[in-house]
Amino acid sequence: MLCRGDSMKEKVMMNKSVLVLTRIGLLSAVALILSAVENMIPALPFALPGMKLGLSNLAVMFALELCSLPGAVCVVAAKAVFALLTRGVTAFFMSLAGGVLATLAMWMMLRIKKLQFGCLGIGIAGAFLHNCGQLLVALVLVSDAVYAYFPVLSLASVATGALTGLVYYIIMPHLKRIPLLS
């Protein structure tokens, strides 16, 4: 790095930030598609109205691996804005709180070297905290009656997390082979 000329350095840095932006954009698009798919899935009879299972967590997991924590937070923000536009203010705060909690948890789990977590563990922790964040916002904005949904939603998050973890496990190695992403 030190022996390179200033203009060269600038160019490399420019390219790098453009690359990171491109990745964030791409992964945000993936997150929005997953959110839209989730919106189309008919709600389970026991599910709390407005709750999302967190399939779009998958895009956040990719973002954590491919563009670091700030990049993942950008994807979460894009998801929250999408929720605001399609489902309103309450959904915005639920999406944001769930997304931020899940992102922080998965970020820590990806980084801890002492304890090697598998994709399964990271997936279910992300899905669980996604639910917890949403429930906390619903407790404040709607009513404390929503706590009744906590057990069933937590169990559901194990299933969603196992699924997102599995998809991540299968797809991630292939993503790393794409020149734009690696």
């Binding site: 709600a43 599910a47 304890l115 598998g118 669980f128 709607v142 706590y147 496990y169 790393k176």
Partner: protein
């Protein structure tokens, strides 16, 4: 900033994954125990909340004839309150999940309309405390 340099594939399952799994299972058990513990069905009180604030409390034992309660949250929702329980009759929400929840009739159950920010939960009348508990 680029973590993709290590090409080692992360395993699907590792023993450490049991930690988040155990945390979730434990919190589910605690949640269920908490929800089921006050099982005194001496009488139910419906707590109706609008936009995050308790709007009214109705002791169901005292309800002779079923009646409708119109609530003006972010959207308009109508509850039917009877001695057997409470249900959403209509709501201006797009998803109608509240109406599909059907009648709630046991302590701890709740029905929520998130778009309208209207919710109703049933608690045993002793929980609501005060005069209600004494007179019931």
């Amino acid at each position: 900033m680029n973590y993709s340099s290590d090409n080692t594939k992360r395993a699907y399952f590792r023993m450490a994954d049991l930690i988040p799994l155990a945390v979730i299972v434990l919190s589910v058990v605690l949640g269920v125990v908490f929800l089921l513990s006050p099982k005194d069905e001496k009488g139910l009180t419906a707590v109706v909340s609008v936009e995050g604030e308790v709007y009214t409390e109705v002791a169901l034992d005292a309800v002779k004839e079923p009646y409708e309660l119109t609530l003006h949250g972010d959207r308009e929702a109508v509850l039917l309150i009877s001695s057997d329980g409470v249900r959403f009759v209509t709501s201006d929400c797009p998803d109608k999940l509240c109406v599909n929840t059907g009648m709630i009739s046991r302590s701890g159950q709740s029905a929520v309309c998130l778009p309208a920010r209207v919710s109703v939960k049933l608690i045993s009348s002793e929980e609501s405390g005060g005069i209600d508990a004494l007179s019931g």
